[in-house]
C-alpha cells in the first residue's frame, strides 16, 4: 500500500496494481475502515486504489496518512466479514444478445444461463453512471466482447456482459455490452466495492 499526493485536498492509496480478489479484499477493508474518519469528505474506491478527498482545514497530507495508517493497524484486530451478498432475480428471456453470446462461445442458451448464475461475482468498481457496478470475474467460457457499435438505448435493468465483466444498467443509457437478461432489481445504492453479487434465474 502506497500513498500519493494528488491535489491540495486529496491523496490516492495504491494497492498492488492487479485486478484480483485478493487486492479487492484489501481495497474493501480499507474503504470500510476509512469511512468513519472525520474530515474525510469523499472516498472513491476502485479496482486497486482509493481516492481520498479531505477537508484541508482539518488535515495536511502527512497527518492524514498517519491517521489512515493508525486506523488500519486497528483493523488487523477484527475478523468480521464485511461482504454482503446481493441477489439479482433475473429473467433471461427478455433479452437481445443471449443467442449471440451462446453462438460466440459454442454453447447452448441453457449453458450460458447456468454458467452466468453459477458464479458469485464481486463489485470491483462503480462508475460510468450512478450505481453502475462492474462485476467480475465472468467465467471465460461465456466471455464475449462488446458490440461493435454501442446501442443508443439500453433499457434500465438490463443484465449485460462484456469480456470478463458483467453488470446491470441502473438507468436507460447508451451502451455496448451484450444484453443477456433483465431484472426488476432497483436498489442500485446498495452496491459498494467488494460486495458479492449473484444472479438468480426467474
Amino acid at each position: 500500500m502506497t500513498f500519493k499526493i494528488i491535489a491540495v485536498n486529496s491523496l490516492i492509496i495504491y494497492f498492488k496494481q492487479a485486478i484480483s480478489e485478493e487486492v479487492l479484499d484489501q481495497v474493501q477493508a480499507t474503504y470500510l475502515a476509512l469511512k468513519s474518519i472525520e474530515g474525510i469528505l469523499d472516498l472513491t474506491p476502485s479496482y486497486c486504489s482509493i481516492l481520498v478527498e479531505f477537508d484541508i482545514f482539518i488535515y495536511e497530507h502527512k497527518i492524514l496518512e498517519r491517521k489512515i495508517n493508525q486506523t488500519l493497524r486497528g483493523l488487523a484486530l477484527t475478523d468480521e466479514n464485511p461482504n454482503k451478498l446481493i441477489k439479482i432475480p433475473t429473467n433471461y428471456k427478455k433479452n437481445l444478445d443471449l443467442e449471440h453470446v451462446a453462438k460466440h462461445n459454442n454453447l447452448s442458451i441453457e449453458e450460458v444461463i447456468n454458467i452466468h448464475t453459477q458464479t458469485t461475482y464481486r463489485v470491483y468498481a462503480i462508475g460510468f453512471m450512478l450505481g453502475f457496478a462492474y462485476l467480475a470475474t465472468v467465467d471465460n467460457k461465456i466471455a464475449t466482447p462488446r458490440l461493435e457499435s454501442p446501442r443508443k438505448k439500453v433499457p434500465k435493468g438490463s443484465v449485460a456482459l462484456a469480456d470478463l465483466q458483467t453488470a446491470i444498467y441502473p438507468q436507460d443509457s447508451a451502451g455496448g455490452w451484450n444484453i443477456i437478461g433483465h431484472t426488476e432489481f432497483d436498489n442500485f445504492h446498495t452496491f459498494e466495492v467488494g460486495d458479492r453479487v449473484q444472479f438468480e434465474r426467474l
Binding site: Q17, T44, I50, I56
Partner: protein, 297 residues
C-alpha cells in the same frame, strides 16, 4: 408559494451550490458551481449560508413574483431589470412584476444569480447541485416557478472594484504533477509546459478537451481509478482533457497532474478558442493559496 417565473430558460441554466460530497463511491459526481469565486461572492453579498444559486450561461429571463434581494456575480451577460442594464457583483432589490434578463454574453461564460436565503428546493444527496446526466437536481425550464421567501428589508452591498475579476482569453493553469506523471518523459513534459493549448468545442461541465502539441504517455491505459477535480488526463491522441465539476468518478487514462482548483474556477469563464498554458506549482504554495481562498470566501 411564489418566486421567479421562468419566461425563458436560456441556453443552460441550472441550480447549483458548492457541490456534492460523500457519494462518489456510488458513482455520483461532485457537480456544483463551475466558478466558485463568483458563486461564493453571490452568497456572501446576501449573507446566505449553505444556500444555492442559478448558474446562467445566457438567455435566462425571469418574472419576479415576490419582492426580494438578489445578487449577481460572474460573467457579464448584460444583466437587465425591465430592459435597463444594471451593474453586477452587487445586490439589487427586485419587486413584483420586474423582469430580469441576461440576453447577451459580453465577457466570461457563467454568471450566478442568488436570492436572499436561497431557492426553496429539495436537496438530493445532501446538495442542491444539478447533474443532468445523473438526473439529479434542478434544470431550469420555461414556466418553472423558482420559489423563495419574500423580504421587505432592502439590502445594498457591492463588491469592491479590486475584487472584481477581468476575464481574459488566456490563462495560466498551475498544475501539481501527480498521478502518472512519471509516465511522461522529460521531453514530453517540456512540450506540455512550454506550449499553449486551445479550448475546443468539446467543453462542458464535465471537462474540456484541449488542442495543441500532442503529449505521449509511455503507458497505454491504466486500471480505472478515482479522478480528482482538475485532473489533466491524456488519452491516446495526446490531447489533454481538463476534468471539472461533473467529471466521471473513475477513469482509465493516464493523468499528468491536477490543476489548482482556483485556476479551474477561472477556467470556467473561458470560451472555445481561448488558450491556456500549464505551469508547475508546488504542494506548499498550492495549499497556501487554497486555504487563503476558502478563508476569505
Amino acid at each position: 408559494m411564489k418566486g421567479f417565473k421562468v419566461l425563458s430558460a436560456g441556453i443552460f441554466s441550472s441550480i447549483q451550490d458548492q457541490g456534492r460530497n460523500g457519494y462518489k463511491h456510488l458513482g455520483i459526481t461532485q457537480s456544483g458551481a463551475m466558478d466558485e469565486y463568483a458563486y461564493l461572492w453571490s452568497q456572501k453579498l446576501l449573507n446566505n449560508q449553505n444556500s444555492n444559486a442559478i448558474e446562467i450561461m445566457v438567455g435566462l429571463k425571469l418574472e419576479v413574483q415576490l419582492n426580494t434581494n438578489i445578487a449577481i456575480c460572474g460573467a457579464d451577460l448584460t444583466f437587465k431589470i425591465n430592459d435597463i442594464p444594471q451593474a453586477i457583483w452587487q445586490t439589487h432589490y427586485v419587486q413584483k412584476g420586474d423582469i430580469l434578463s441576461f440576453p447577451q454574453r459580453i465577457s466570461g461564460q457563467r454568471a450566478y444569480l442568488a436570492v436572499k436565503e436561497g431557492f426553496n428546493i429539495q436537496k438530493k444527496y445532501g446538495s442542491y447541485a444539478t447533474t443532468l446526466r445523473e438526473k439529479i437536481g434542478h434544470k431550469i425550464q420555461k414556466n418553472n416557478i423558482l420559489k423563495y421567501k419574500s423580504t421587505t428589508k432592502i439590502e445594498t452591498k457591492r463588491l469592491k472594484k479590486e475584487f472584481i475579476p477581468n476575464y481574459h482569453n488566456t490563462l495560466n493553469l498551475r498544475l501539481l504533477p501527480s498521478y502518472q506523471n512519471n509516465c511522461f518523459t522529460k521531453k514530453e513534459q517540456e512540450k506540455f509546459f512550454n506550449n499553449e493549448y486551445e479550448i475546443t468545442l468539446e467543453n462542458n461541465r464535465m471537462g474540456a478537451k484541449l488542442k495543441g502539441l500532442a503529449i505521449r504517455s509511455s503507458k497505454g491505459g491504466i486500471v480505472s481509478e478515482g479522478i480528482a477535480f482538475g485532473s489533466v488526463q491524456i488519452p491516446q491522441d495526446g490531447q489533454p482533457i481538463l476534468l471539472l465539476k461533473e467529471r466521471q468518478t473513475i477513469g482509465g487514462y493516464s493523468k499528468i497532474g491536477t490543476v489548482l482548483a482556483l485556476d479551474c474556477f477561472k477556467f470556467a469563464q473561458l470560451a472555445v478558442g481561448d488558450t491556456v498554458q500549464f505551469e508547475k506549482i508546488t504542494l506548499e504554495v498550492a495549499r497556501e493559496k487554497m486555504l487563503k481562498f476558502y478563508t476569505n470566501n
